[in-house]
């Protein structure tokens, strides 16, 4: 391999190429370059690096590409339609942090989606969130737990009814680009956590407020809106009720318990979306439903025989005013009579009769007397009635 950026001849860019829509997660995880010569980290090093992803100012960074996020939402919507699932969107009330436990030189990581380059909540986290809420807040949770999440024991030998859960929880992703922000945590009882058990009772290891706070900057997500898709694994009669329960539990867990990290400090609480997000998602839903409708029509048309296709086309064409107009519809009327001749030879009987009825009623209402006469004569010629 060439071009290892850690070495002298590296070609690493000096700053994150924000305008080129590079992957912020890649920059964040692999391009940390703030070590001093002795590999120590200065006071400003951590926040200086984080500022490369969220410094305010001209062209301040919003990570994620709006078109890619929309395309992802639509792909998920198609999958949910196929599975009989749904995706519910919620907006965070304040900051949101995900993947803080990931290793990083600034001490706290942030989880970026591998292809979309935005922070997100994995499906396993969503599943855990809903499970924890149900365990703690449903009066008799056992039946719901087993149906939604499967048998408690993960050992096939341990349980007679070893089953998987009936609900699929998918990754929750932002529906629009996301602003990042630098937050600071100030732990000051590190010694208590590290040595409190081994060396109890001495001044340094007591959990007390005389210790100096250690400011640790970390990356978080400013207010954002996530779509949470979920779907049934199997379909039963009461599946809609089960999904409604999941949605209700998800909504409550997101609002009261919060998603992601630092929920005890007010992070990750989600509630109903703001009006502009609701409107945007409604528009997307309309777009995709229209596209499905068109696809269905195309498919239905393709499944018809040639004569049925022609009939379907004619049924629409007779409604159009340009064809009904005596001065401009001449060609159309001639085409109708040509169809009748064609039908006499090639069309199945049922389609032919439908065509004759269609032509007769059209010419009666919108045709001249001559054309109607011509049609009747033609019919006598062809069928002798």
């Amino acid at each position: 391999m060439t071009g290892l950026p850690l070495y002298a001849e590296h070609r690493a860019p000096a700053s994150f190429p924000a305008r080129g829509q590079g992957h912020p997660g890649l920059w964040f995880e692999r391009f940390f370059a703030q070590y001093a010569r002795d590999f120590s980290l200065g006071n400003e090093a951590k926040s200086d690096f984080l500022k490369t992803l969220c410094a305010p100012g001209p062209g301040a960074l919003r990570v994620g590409d709006p078109d890619a996020l929309k395309a992802h939402w639509m792909r998920q919507a198609a999958l949910m339609a196929h599975r009989g699932g749904r995706q519910c969107a919620f907006s965070s009330r304040w900051h949101f942090a995900t993947g803080l436990g990931l290793p990083h030189p600034v001490e706290n990581g942030l989880l970026f989606h591998p292809t979309l380059g935005v922070p997100y909540l994995p499906g396993s986290s969503v599943k855990g969130l809903v499970r924890a809420w149900i365990e703690q807040h449903l009066a008799e949770p056992e039946a719901a737990l087993k149906r939604i999440f499967g048998s408690r024991s993960k050992d096939p030998a341990a349980s007679d009814e070893f089953v998987a859960g009936e609900v699929l929880f998918f990754d929750a992703l932002p529906v629009e680009p996301v602003s990042l922000v630098i937050d600071t945590m100030t732990p000051h009882m590190g010694q208590w956590y590290e040595q409190g058990a081994e060396q109890p009772g001495i001044r340094e290891t007591l959990p007390a407020d005389w210790h100096d706070p250690v400011p640790v900057p970390f990356l978080a997500v400013k207010q954002t809106s996530l779509a949470f898709p979920f779907a049934p694994r199997v379909r039963r009669d009461d599946t809609p009720a089960l999904l409604a329960l999941v949605e209700e539990m998800l909504e409550r867990a997101l609002w009261h318990a919060g998603a992601g990290a630092k929920t005890a400090a007010g992070y990750g609480s989600f509630a109903a979306c703001d009006d502009d997000v609701v409107k945007k998602l409604d528009d997307w839903t309309r777009d995709i439903e229209q596209a499905w409708e068109e696809a269905r029509e195309r498919q239905a048309l393709a499944a018809l025989s040639p004569s049925q296709q022609r009939l379907a086309w004619l049924e629409r064409a007779v409604q159009e005013s340009v064809n009904q107009n005596p001065s401009s519809g001449g060609d159309f009327r001639n085409a109708l009579l040509a169809d009748v001749r064609e039908a006499a030879v090639h069309w199945p009987e049922a389609d032919r009769d439908a065509l004759l009825a269609l032509v007769q009623s059209f010419l009666k209402t919108h045709g001249s007397k001559n054309k109607l006469k011509e049609f009747k004569q033609l019919r006598r010629e062809l069928w002798g009635d």
Binding site: A12, L26, P122, D287
Partner: protein, 307 residues
């Protein structure tokens, strides 16, 4: 043995995909399945057949057709073999993070050569196209993007023009099922921008170092702390990974479908599997949304395939 019939299935990952390799590697508790000689990720044929059969079960496929295609259940396995041969799902495009565009769909000459061989085996000859040489440190891309250094993960490549890129884009698109609501032209444009060819060694390196690994914990609701032993690292192929799998049908061996040709059997089976929607769940972790692939069918007479 009389004529076999082939179809190629394109599997485009909609969600992360974890087909577990079993065993534990140094740092990764749950690695994915790989081809041993090249380290390329794959999904073993047995896992693919299981995924197809599970879908047949779920859709309630007619029992005789299922038995003919996939073979009888374990207790009656000695009666006859199934008529369907399912290959490994082989990697074609791996999404790799980049500093120019969020990610690139990366492949290498060895994978393209194998795709052509597999196409020929499946009777999808098509026009001959050349596989360009690519030097280490160079990345071949569509002509318009040659100006700057191209970063794939932390590695710098010098971009150069890929002369026949359009022919390859069309060939690859045939393996990507369309989504209603997304214009085919946008998909083509995105693929053209993202398609990147690197040398075989660099690609093998990405197959080790550029695959997402996520830590998972199980937290006890009572204590809000990690349950004993419930911290593990799990590897998965990212969404937008493109794999393909070759299906072959032999003439049916079961009594009930003796009169069917292999082509009829394959067509009936695939219709039963995918007329409901072009999706297949492959690999583990279904309930955390993983393994959903959009499936494109590429038969010698099918739309999109050249005879």
């Amino acid at each position: 043995m009389t004529a076999m019939t082939h179809q190629m299935l394109g599997l485009f990952a909609e969600t992360p995909l974890h087909a577990g390799g079993g065993g534990k590697e140094e740092l990764i508790d749950l690695p994915i399945q790989r081809e041993i000689h090249s380290q390329w990720p794959c999904v073993f044929g047995s896992a693919m057949k299981g995924a197809l059969r599970a879908r047949a079960d779920q859709l309630g496929m007619e029992k005789d057709l299922k038995t003919t295609a996939f073979g009888p259940d374990t207790l009656n396995a000695s009666e006859h073999a199934g008529a369907l041969l399912v290959s490994d799902a082989r990697l074609l495009l791996l999404p790799v993070r980049s500093l120019t565009g969020h990610f690139r769909l990366v492949t290498c000459p060895a994978l393209l050569r194998r795709l052509l061989a597999d196409r020929a085996r499946a009777g999808l000859a098509g026009e001959a196209s050349t596989i360009p040489d690519v030097a280490a440190g160079t990345a071949l891309v569509a002509g318009s993007q040659q100006s700057e250094t191209l970063f794939l993960e932390e590695f710098a490549f010098t971009p150069a023009a890929w002369p026949e890129v359009e022919a390859w884009v069309e060939r690859i698109l045939a393996l990507v099922a369309p989504v209603a609501g997304l214009a085919e032209d946008d998909t083509r444009k995105a693929l053209t921008t993202q398609l990147t060819l690197v040398d075989d060694d660099s690609f093998s390196h990405f197959c080790r170092s550029a695959i997402p690994v996520l830590p998972h914990v199980r937290i006890s609701s009572d204590t809000k702390t990690v349950e004993g032993g419930a911290l593990w690292h799990e590897e998965s192929l990212p969404p937008d990974t493109l794999l393909y799998c070759v299906l072959a049908a032999q003439p049916p061996r079961s009594e009930t479908h003796r009169e069917l040709s292999s082509a009829e059997l394959l067509e009936q089976t695939l219709q039963a599997l995918f007329d409901d929607g072009p999706y297949l769940q492959v690999g583990g972790n279904e309930t955390t949304g993983m393994g959903w692939c959009r499936v494109a069918r590429l038969g010698s007479e099918a739309k999109g395939g050249e005879a």
